[in-house]
């Protein structure tokens, strides 16, 4: 029996700029179960990144209801949102978003440093384990500027998983990488998924989308298709 991790009901997002009202998302309803690997695709400006921001509590919806791990997170405070992001969500960005002044291990430790329930030793071990998972232990003391793009994204993956989040949200994780590095990062996500991680990835690269269990297509702020990937037997359609 699959456990529901994310449940969106009639989510709307409207941007207001200089008297222009832009409906970025309209009437989005969606469920993601634990252990799923979901890709969200669509053309530029369709609203897929906005959806990922709402899923990651990086932004608030204009309307609708959002449940994460059976808790309504639609109207929670900024502090509570920060706590949930820190413990339950891991982010991987297209532009890596590493802090240039921090070393690799410091970047990975960053989300842990915002938690009060971990000792220094625990944090060190978690960072070390995370680095090993992405095979970057040898670069722990380096700074982002000393790494290639592929290495930087591996560090970003390590940072995303270091706190054992409930879900990993990836926004075009291969968008800034060459094909070889892109393949390596996707391979890494496959491994994480195989180990039980829930992944939701925004991509417009069909090859990346193919690796997900389930593909959601968005156009003009609305879901136009949500189907399982036949290549993946473990797909459990949430909409079924």
């Amino acid at each position: 029996m699959s456990t529901t991790l994310i449940k969106l009901e009639n989510i709307e997002k409207v941007f207001y700029t200089e008297e222009v009202e832009t409906h970025a998302l309209s009437n989005i309803s969606l469920t993601i179960n634990k252990g799923e690997y979901v890709s969200i695709s669509g053309p530029s400006g369709c609203g897929k990144s906005t959806l990922l921001s709402l899923l990651g509590l990086l932004d608030t919806s204009t309307g609708g209801k959002y449940q994460l791990a059976e808790h309504d997170v639609s109207g929670i405070s900024k502090t509570e949102r920060a706590r949930i992001r820190n413990k339950e969500i891991g982010f991987i960005f297209q532009s890596f978003n590493l802090i240039s002044d921090l070393s690799v291990e410091e970047n990975i430790d960053l989300p842990l440093s915002y938690r009060n329930d971990l000792s220094k030793e625990q944090r060190v071990k978690m960072v070390k384990d995370s680095l090993e998972k992405v095979n970057m232990s040898h670069r722990a003391k380096h700074f982002p500027s000393q790494l290639s793009g592929g290495q930087q994204q591996r560090v970003a993956v390590a940072r995303a998983i270091v706190g054992n989040p409930s879900i990993i949200l990836a926004d075009e994780p291969t968008g800034n990488l060459d094909s070889e590095n892109a393949a390596a990062v996707m391979q890494l996500l496959d491994v994480l998924h195989a180990e039980g991680a829930t992944i939701c990835m925004v991509t417009h690269d069909p090859r990346s989308a193919e690796r997900a269990d389930r593909n959601i297509d968005i156009l003009d702020g609305q879901i136009i298709s949500d189907q399982s990937n036949p290549a993946h037997k473990n797909f459990d359609a949430a909409t079924a």
Binding site: T50, S53, G56, L58, D59, T60, K78, T79, A82, R83, R85, N86, K87, F91, F93, Q94, S95, F96, N97, L98, I99, S100, D101, L110, P111, Y114, R115, P144, S145, R159, G163, N176
Partner: protein, 805 residues
Amino acid sequence: MIMQDFKYAIRLLAKKPGFTILTTLVMATGIGLSVYLFSFFNMLFADLPFKDGESIVIIAASENGATNFDRLSIHDYFEIRNNVKGLSQFGAYSEESVNVIGREGARKYNASYTEPGMFELTHTVPVLGRTFATKEDKVGAENVVIVGFDIWKNQYGGDSEILDQILQISGESYRIIGVMPEGYSFPRRAELWLPLRKDAKQLSRDNTEYIRGFARLDEGVSKQEINQQLSVIMQRIEQKYPKTNHRKSAYIGSMSMSSVGSGIAVVYSMQVVAILILVLASINVGNLLLSRAVERSKETAIRVALGAPRARLISQMLWESIIICTMGGIIGFLMVAWGLEITQGITAGFFPGKMPFWWVFSIDAFNIKLFIAFVISTIIVTGLLPAWKNSGENFNDALKDGTRGALSKKSGRLNKVLVISEILISLVVLICASVMVLSSYNRTHADIGAETQGIIVADVALSDARYDLASKKSEFINTLQSRLENSTGISDVMISSTLPGLFARTNKLEIEGKEYHDNKGKHEANAIVITPGTLGKLGVELQQGRYFNNSDNGDDKRSVIVTESFVSQHFPKQSALGKRLRFTENDQQNPSWLTIVGIVEHTRQGDNPTRSKLPSVFRPYAQDPRVQVTVAMKSALDKTSVTKILRDTLRSIDSQLPAFRIETYTQSVYRVSASVRFISSVLLIFGIAAVVLAGSGIYGVMSNTISQRTQEIGIKRALGADEKHIINELLIAGVKQLLWGGIPGTILGGALGFAMGTVMGVGINEIVILSLTTVIILGTIVILATYLPAKKALQLEPSEALHYE
């Protein structure tokens, strides 16, 4: 090409008028204040306006290493003159006020008693007549005088037959032999010149007279070389005459320096402050231009991609600096011209008579050169920051959208350096300004121990020739006091050698029962003579004993009144009444013991804070008559009426006696600290400018830094950092910068403040408190400059912050 860049820069500036006005005003403030202060001091220390004026030096005495342009013993002067190499055209002079009887009655003028040669030294010839002949400088020679242009015009109506006419000066007749040209007042404020007639051979070292020397520095000889020689010569004299020359030395300095004395530490500190203000303004404008360069980094990248050479890009960025700094400079320069005009009027009030003749505050070649130099410097400094920033920019990254993960290390370092510099400089400026303002406050708000309201004061100087005996002086003063008291409209008359709040003569004294081995161990006090009733009428409160009365009159009486400060210093926890003291400087042969009959509250004499606690000893005028006295008249009448009453009364007693320096007591006390007040006001303006520049500058840089870190903040929030975490992190970074800039800034500011405080009478404890207060003010600015932009950045949703450009 250049015109194209210029037009583009104009277009950019016109597009953001707020930015253009702000940066121009900041630059105007920086350049204006700095040029003003340097110009002010340049004019204060200007070379004398004579041919080779820069080589004219003053020979002065120093004691215990303090160089205050003190007067030299005539004996030491002749020793120096005979032994020093590298100086020529020697002369000696002394300055005094004299009573002159002219067409308009008796008037007071500044006289310079001088050896022949002064006029040749300054390459100045009289407009009428001649200068002194050598034989006229001999004791017993005919009395001759050279008058200044003003006396010739005002007293003689420019009469071409003035030569050989007789002028009554302090009761003696002098034949006029020359008239000096308009504006000539050498050595400082002279209005007429008399032969010095001092012969060291006729005086003993114990009974010497004091003068200052002038000379010309030979070509190729430095002042340091001469001062080394003078030091050796004076050491030799000290060995030979240890009693009179203990720890005394001599040195040379420029005439203009002699008007400043120990205040030179203040002058140097203020010049440092002026430069720092300019640097502060440049950093601010540089930072604002830098933030514009950051905003336009994509545009710059496009230009590079299109093949723009680096030099062209830098030149384009420099155009904005050139326009802003030049416009700001011109506005600042206009402010300087206006400021100097005001200064001319204010500085005239520092002196009761004329001010030093080389003090002409106006725009000259120096100002213009300084203005150009400062504008060029600021263009380089303000243009350099954005140019430096862009020289290391990865243009390829800038062209790629959204690849910047966070503020680059280089930009971060630059911003930190800017904030630290602003904090450091602001602290130095603020500490110096606050020391001056506190000094001014202390001087102007200190209790002088007397009431000044409703009192008109005037000076009267008796001539030694007509009032040679003590009894004559006393008789004159008694008559003057009683006639004035009987005049309608004058309620009280107080006559004193000086009044509380004004400068007083000090004397060494001994206390009966104490042992003294040499003059150095003796006590010092203000020695003031007063007529009976004066202290009570001035409101100087009696604490024990009695005021003087008519029973104290007579040069055979020996009574004194001392201040409570004298008692606490010399008779702690015991009654001082009946105790005896004696002055030992003026009456060395047989000083009389004087009995304390009364104790009054402390009175402050002069405005020197380091000597404000010096006790005073009052004697009845009749026991120690002086030639110059201050007459204070309490009256409900206006100044003009009181002046008429005084002049009429004086004329009725002695037609040759003028009353001079007639003003209200309040004005008189005010003038004592007028120069400090003025400098404090200037530094207060600098302090306010520093606070505004530093506040806006630190806010600008911090806000810019945080704005550039918006993406980084977004990342951290995405990773779970809440607002508290982010704000704390930014505040800690701000506090670190505060410490980096604050510690050296406090040390440097404290050191400069201490140098100023030593002269201005601000103690080390006060400087520490001022420094800490300044640190707290700047700390608050830094915290606000961090907190407010951070709160603003946190208003963005993390998703917006992640894509912030």
